[in-house]
Amino acid sequence: MTIWWSSWADFWAMGGHAFFVWMSYGALLVAVVVEVVLLQARRKRALAAIEEERELEAEN
C-alpha cells in the first residue's frame, strides 16, 4: 500500500498500538463534531430568543 503499511489491516493495527492511536484520533473527531453541534444549537437558541422577544412586543 505504502512503504510503511503493507495493507489497510496493517494500517488499522498501528503496529499493535491501535487502541492508543485511535482513541486519540477518535476523541478529536468526537470533540469537533460535538462542538459543531453545540455551535448550531446555540445559534438556534439565540435566534429563537429574538423571535420570542419580537412576538412579546407585538402583543403589547
Binding site: W4, M14, G16, M23, Y25, V32, L38, L47
Partner: protein, 241 residues
C-alpha cells in the same frame, strides 16, 4: 480606512458570517492533507513505532491550547483597558474552543503516555500546568456567566484570564525548568530534530487546527452578539438574518 468600523458588533456580525465558512473549508482541506501526510506518508518512528503518530494531533492541539489562551487574554486586556464590547464577546467566543483543544491535548497525551511511559498520567510539571490551563478556561467560562449583568461578567472573567497568563510560560518552559517525564521540544525557533515529512505533517495539522479555531470562534461570536444585542434595533431590523 476606519479601523473601528469592524469593532462594532453589528458590522462584525456580518463580516464573521461571511468569513466563517471559508475558514472551515480551509481547515477541512488542511486536515485532509495533514492526516494523509501524518498517517500514510510520514515514516514510522524507529524507537516508538506507529504509536508516535499521535503526535500529529497532540502537538497541534497543545500549541493551539496555549495560543488561543494568549489571544483570549489579549482580548481580555482590551476589554479591561478600553471597555470595548466586541473584545469581551471575542474572548467569550474563544474560550470553549480553547478548552476543547486543551482537553484533547491532555487526552491524546494520556493515550500516548500509556504505551511509551507506562502510565496515562503523572504529576509532572508539563502535564500539571496544562491541566491548570484547562481549569483556567473553565474558570473563565464559569465566571463570565456568573453575573446578572454580562458586562460585569466580562470584566471579572477578563481579570482572571489575565492573571492566568503567567501559566503560559510555565507550560512552555516546564520541560526545561524541571526534570519532567515529558520530553523537550522537538521543534523550536532554532530548528528541529524531526524528519521533514513528520514536521510538515505536524505543521499542516497545526494550520488546520488554527483555521478551525478561527471558524468556530467566528460562528460562536455571532451567537454571543445576538444574545447580548437582542434588544438592539439592528438585530430586530435584520429580521434575525
Amino acid at each position: 480606512m476606519n479601523w473601528f468600523y469592524f469593532s462594532s458588533p453589528s458590522t462584525f456580525y456580518t463580516l464573521a458570517g461571511r468569513l466563517a465558512p471559508w475558514f472551515f473549508i480551509l481547515a477541512a482541506a488542511l486536515a485532509a492533507w495533514g492526516l494523509y501526510l501524518g498517517l500514510l506518508v510520514a515514516p514510522t518512528d524507529a524507537q516508538q513505532g506507529a504509536v508516535y503518530r499521535v503526535i500529529f494531533i497532540h502537538v497541534p492541539t497543545a500549541w493551539m491550547s496555549m495560543f488561543l489562551y494568549f489571544v483570549m487574554a489579549c482580548y481580555c486586556g482590551l476589554t479591561l483597558v478600553f471597555n470595548t464590547r466586541l473584545s469581551a464577546m471575542m474572548a467569550r467566543a474563544i474560550a470553549p474552543t480553547g478548552a476543547m483543544f486543551t482537553f484533547i491535548a491532555l487526552w491524546t497525551g494520556a493515550f500516548w503516555g500509556r504505551p511509551t511511559w507506562g502510565t496515562y498520567w503523572v504529576w509532572d510539571a508539563r502535564l500539571t500546568s496544562e491541566l491548570v490551563l484547562l481549569f483556567l478556561y473553565s474558570g473563565y467560562i464559569a465566571l463570565s456567566n456568573a453575573f446578572e449583568d454580562p458586562r460585569r461578567g466580562d470584566r471579572a472573567a477578563a481579570l482572571l484570564a489575565l492573571i492566568g497568563v503567567v501559566n503560559l510560560p510555565i507550560i512552555y518552559f516546564s520541560v526545561q525548568w524541571w526534570n519532567t517525564l515529558h520530553q523537550g521540544s522537538s521543534v523550536s525557533f532554532k530548528g528541529t530534530s524531526m524528519h521533514v515529512t513528520m514536521l510538515t505533517g505536524m505543521l499542516v495539522m497545526s494550520a488546520a487546527a488554527w483555521m478551525y479555531a478561527i471558524g468556530a470562534t467566528l460562528v460562536r461570536v455571532r451567537s454571543v452578539i445576538l444574545e447580548r444585542e437582542r434588544r438592539a434595533q439592528w438585530v430586530r431590523d435584520a429580521g434575525a438574518a
